[in-house]
């Protein structure tokens, strides 16, 4: 990745006016879809993502069921109109890889042993994509799992960290991701203090890597506050059955 544009100005502000450790505006809704067993919707910068969960349900094909726990399945998918150039609706290799890492990022939070011989299916549908769609999708999917009543050890919350203009910053948007020199998507169980997803592209010195890991945890904990608020509103403020909206603007 080559840096062409000036991504941080003389006042230390980024292209969209954010400070180095500032998140983009976030909006979270729970229980947005009628048919799904659990669902959530997140706007994270320009990301607009619907997540839904079906299950625990019968496992198909039968021979692939597990006698002592549920099989977790996940599909991350982008709408054809979600990106600048129209995307072919068939799943790309990128979507297949991200489906896998999202599933593996969510699985540690779930008590799958409580649902032997069943399947739990997660869908992450990106309606509009911006930098960090996979981690925003994880945040929404974890809410959808909670909304579906799946037993969980902790929530999972995602947040990326990147490197622009030689500086480690929180939560890259599309322009920063494209022009910056490093990106590190990250997901975390905040109460258990365990990392469930980490990917990295670009160039980080060992010290920058340490900083990035620290900043990612801070960012994730901030997203977690919103995630928690959305759940509390939905379930303990008489909002159950209704759609709950939590917003953090700037």
């Amino acid at each position: 990745m080559k840096e062409k544009k000036k991504l941080i100005d003389e006042n230390g502000l980024r292209l969209d006016g954010r400070k180095w450790d500032q998140l983009r505006p976030i909006k979270i809704e729970v229980g947005t879809l009628h048919n799904a067993d659990g669902s959530a919707y997140i706007e994270f910068g320009k990301n607009k993502i619907a997540a839904a969960v079906y299950g625990p349900k019968e496992m198909h094909p039968k021979h692939a069921l597990l006698p002592d726990r549920a099989v977790l399945k996940c599909r991350y998918h982008m709408a054809p109109f979600s990106v600048d150039e129209r995307k072919n609706p068939a799943p790309s290799r990128r979507e297949i890889e991200i489906s896998k890492v999202i599933r593996e990022a969510l699985q540690p939070s779930l008590i799958l042993e409580d649902y032997p011989r069943t399947a739990i299916q997660i869908y992450v549908e990106v309606l509009q994509s911006d930098g960090g769609s996979r981690v925003a999708g994880i945040t929404a999917a974890s809410l959808a799992l909670a909304d579906a009543g799946i037993n969980m050890r902790d929530m999972v919350v995602g947040c990326a960290v990147g490197k622009i203009e030689g500086k480690i910053v929180l939560d890259l948007d599309d322009a920063e991701d494209k022009e910056g020199s490093g990106d590190m998507p990250f997901a975390f169980m905040p109460n258990l203090n365990l990392v469930t997803l980490l990917q990295l592209d670009g160039l980080f010195t060992p010290d920058e890597f340490r900083q990035a890991l620290e900043l990612a945890q801070q960012g994730a904990r901030r997203v977690y506050e919103m995630q928690r608020e959305a759940l509390i509103k939905q379930y303990f403020s008489g909002g159950a059955g209704e759609t709950t909206v939590v917003e953090e603007g700037e």
Binding site: L33, H34, A50, P80, L127
Partner: protein, 273 residues
């Protein structure tokens, strides 16, 4: 939980019950036989698309996005823009839907909606030619179904039409033999507003805009699309049942009448009122 995937035993019981109710002119959700559900249209929801709309028809919800790009014309229409309508029922939209290539139902859905737009000549494709035989505007309309509660045909049709009515596209100009974005922005050239209305036959009764529960017991359905002058511009009978000819004429009458109301609602929601 969706009721679109039919369980045969349940179907038989439900059907008897629903036919009894319908014989009294009543529907489970209290609607009149020819009454359509509450329609909500929100446009401009996807900034990265040239046009977009989320349409909610009862509990059925679909999103349509329009992408306009420079393209190559089809060999048999060298002087016309290209229009492509795709539809996918997302697997999160109902328990019965599976991920994978579109099945025959999704293909029928996309093709019927495509014909409704194409055959009504809603879009003036002739004005979307940049250089004959070489460069045209390619208009992609993709619909994703977010929640299934019956009558995907109409919800999809309304979303496509609403997204196109509010779409803005870059003006492309020729520079030598290449196409360049001029920086100017144009509306997509819309000539007409086609509106589809779907009528289901349950027993011997016709009902408009069926829910999933009603679809589960219907014998057949017919989708008729009308234009601003109440011409019928697309039709599709579906499902393994029948219609007596006179009920097809009744369905046409409903499609024209309800179509007018819905066209007004779409015009209002898209600023074409």
């Amino acid at each position: 939980m969706s009721a679109s995937k039919k369980s045969y035993v349940v179907e038989t019981l439900r059907k008897a019950q629903m036919i009894e109710l319908l014989s009294k002119g009543k529907r489970i959700d209290g609607r009149q036989l020819d009454e359509t559900r509450k329609l909500d249209v929100r446009t401009g929801v996807i900034e990265k698309a040239n046009g977009s709309a989320i349409v909610t028809l009862g509990n059925t919800q679909v999103i349509a996005g329009v992408k306009v790009q420079p393209g190559t014309p089809f060999p048999d229409t060298p002087d016309k823009g290209v229009l492509m309508v795709g539809a996918e029922v997302l697997p999160l939209a109902a328990a019965y839907v599976e991920a994978g290539p579109p099945d025959e139902g999704a293909i029928e859905l996309a093709r019927v909606v495509d014909r409704g737009v194409r055959e009504s000549e809603m879009i003036d494709l002739a004005s979307l030619c940049i250089k004959e035989g070489k460069h045209v505007y390619a208009v992609f309309v993709d619909v994703n179904v977010l929640n299934v509660d019956g009558n995907l045909f109409d919800a999809t049709s309304y979303a496509v039409v609403s997204a196109l009515l509010t779409a803005k596209m870059p003006k492309y100009v020729l520079e030598g033999d290449a196409v360049k974005n001029s920086g100017e922005v144009l509306p997509v050239p819309v000539a007409k507003i086609p509106v589809s209305v779907t009528i289901a036959r349950v027993g011997n009764t016709l009902i408009a805009d069926p829910t999933s529960e009603e679809e589960a017991v219907m014998d057949s359905r017919i989708t008729l699309t009308t234009d601003d002058e109440s011409n019928i511009c697309a039709g599709q009978k579906g499902e393994p049942g029948t219609f007596p000819p006179e009920q097809i004429l009744q369905a046409a009458e409903v499609a024209i009448r309800r179509g007018k109301e819905i066209r007004q609602a779409i015009k209002a929601a898209t600023g074409h009122g």
